[in-house]
Symmetry: C2
Subunit: 367 residues, 2 copies
């Protein structure tokens, strides 16, 4: 193999595939990046859960392939002068990297040992703008469960029905849902993608108008962009029937400024602590929401102006669940629907149904 | 105590004194910030090695004092709305913090338990621009020893002789020296400041023309700025006679671009490793400096154009020592003086004597 490419293009490609390279492996080959030069110059990272391919513009002088340690290869290329880089494979997997007056010789591993990415049938496909699917993932991923006993909840459901894409995460205490109407006709499907790989995919997707093509198969999903491809395995099993969980009626509803509510809950959470699970208390009455906490560290009270419909209410929450949801909502105002002082509440947009965040309350002690 | 001040001024003051608040203590009072309101509103942090006072503009309604947990107090104030903050001490060390519609009640500790900063005799003083002393510390601190067996070398020497200030760090393998000529007459002195506290002082000093007044006593040094004061204890004992260590003659001298040399050594160091102490090799001949390394990870070779005087030379170095020195040098070019292939080398400015970095070589195996 002998290729010449620009340092910048190479760094970009390495940065993308490194998201799939694991350091927590006993298999040395998985710590590497596969370099392949045939009609195009392609880099691959693969941790057996997620695989990423990236194409780098290059002048291919000799076809071939090699595996290079990801960290060392990346560190070397990042430090090279801003110029053309030559990568050449010699005898015995010796690799030469050369750039202006800099010259490296490092040992590679045979490409034949590198695990190939699974092939994907290119049947079920839909296209969506990168920034839209990126936002949808960001706005739901935090509610994915980390409890391995309910494996299916450690992923997010991606569902398509009637040309509407929904992404749903549920961890047993809360639910996060984002919806988006696709303009073109696509086949219905539903798959569950591991949260871990979604976290990497969201870093590769860019906030741009360019589309990503998403191919669905039985046990794999493929995200295809112009310069790279991401393949993730899917979680097997049936996801929860989330629609039946979201309450449809309410006892109390309030409309409130998103940022204002977030700031108030963040303040109240300062004197709670995640380990001890102190709740913050909402007291809703007379178009005011009083958010308070009372712990062994002290007490806090915050007052927020709201538009209120329905009955007075007192209810307690784990503040983190509210904070994580409010942080990803871009709308200036939201509606919050309370079913009862011991029932779930749901945050929804003032208009439309593009998202829903349902949160279960925490029992609070009487005053 | 009852004071009203702006959130921004309070955050600034807290940020400064927090640099002296330790979290690694069993003394709960040292995790706190002392708040004192008399004619001015003053915050104090003190870990018994370094003490910092900061003044905050405030409307003092009632004099008094209290100690508040540094982390909680800082977290609360940072989250408050951008407005005026009221801090009021009630019965039993209960403290109220109020800002717009936010209200906190937290428990304080009695100020009487807080360790007072040591008094400093205001005799030996010199004044210097903050940005100058800040740069001088930054350009020498990395060579401070971490070996507690030679306690005195865990600090930097600050010396004044003939109106010239010198800061010196030595760790047994290298020396870093910065000099600056003061325009006004000051008394000679020499003190050794612990590296740990210098690291905090350098964060408080700003890159501005404003002067800092530095007061020297037998066992303390005081840095006085407009809005804050830093007191550090000094290390006891005699510092090394550093002047006798820096070689005066040389066998080979080269002039080289600082950034170019740094980049080349950084590349060569990529395939060395700190634990195994692989050196990088300098080969100097024919107005070229070849920097190479050869380890079990691979080999590298970099060529740098230099102006050379004297004999050819081959010599090995721990690359980190060169990298740390070259990173803090602002000059475009430097001169490097080599005494022999087993003797120390010294990096100096092309003109003047504002700095000197001396580095001991590492023995390299023959090819």
């Amino acid at each position: 193999m002998k290729v010449i490419c620009s340092k910048d293009a190479l760094i970009e490609g390495i940065g993308i595939v490194q998201k799939a390279v694991t350091t927590k492996t006993t298999l040395k080959i998985l710590e590497g990046i596969l370099l392949e030069a045939s009609d195009r110059f392609k880099l691959t990272g693969n941790d057996l859960e997620i695989g990423i391919e990236s194409y780098v513009d290059a002048d291919i002088r000799e076809q071939g392939n090699i595996v290079l340690n990801s960290k060392m290869f990346g560190d070397i290329v990042r430090r090279l002068p801003d110029s053309e880089v030559l990568i050449e494979v010699k005898q015995n997997f010796e690799v030469i990297i050369e750039c202006e007056n800099s010259h490296f010789e490092i040992k590679g591993l045979p490409a034949s040992e590198y695990p190939a990415l699974p092939p994907i049938k290119r049947e079920n496909v839909f296209k969506i703008k990168q920034k839209i699917i990126r936002d949808m993932i960001k706005q739901t991923i935090f509610a994915v469960s980390i409890d391995e006993n309910r494996r299916i909840l450690t992923g997010s459901l991606i569902e398509c029905a009637d040309n509407e894409i929904s992404i749903v995460s549920i961890d047993g205490f809360r639910l996060a849902l984002r919806r988006y109407l696709i303009s073109n006709d696509i086949q219905d499907f539903n798959v569950v993608i591991p949260g871990k790989t979604l976290n990497e995919i969201v870093k590769i997707l860019q906030p741009v108008e360019d589309e990503v093509a998403i191919y669905i198969s039985d046990n794999q999903i493929l995200f295809e962009m112009q310069k790279c491809k991401v393949v993730s395995r899917l979680l097997e099993g049936e996801y929860l029937n989330y629609k039946s969980i979201i309450p449809q009626d309410f006892e109390t509803k309030l409309r409130v400024g998103t940022k204002e509510l977030l700031a108030s809950i963040e303040r109240a959470s300062l004197i709670t602590s995640e380990e001890k699970k102190y709740p913050v208390k909402f007291r809703i009455a007379d178009d005011k929401l009083i958010i308070s906490s009372n712990t062994d560290l002290g007490a806090s009270r915050d007052e927020v102006r709201v538009d209120m419909y329905g009955n007075k209410m007192e209810i307690g929450f784990n503040p983190r669940y509210f904070i994580e949801a409010l942080k990803v909502i871009e709308d200036e105002n939201v509606d919050i629907f309370f079913t009862s002082s011991i029932g779930p509440c749901t945050i929804k947009p003032v208009e439309g149904s593009s998202f829903a965040y349902m949160i279960l309350p925490v029992r609070i002690k009487g005053e």
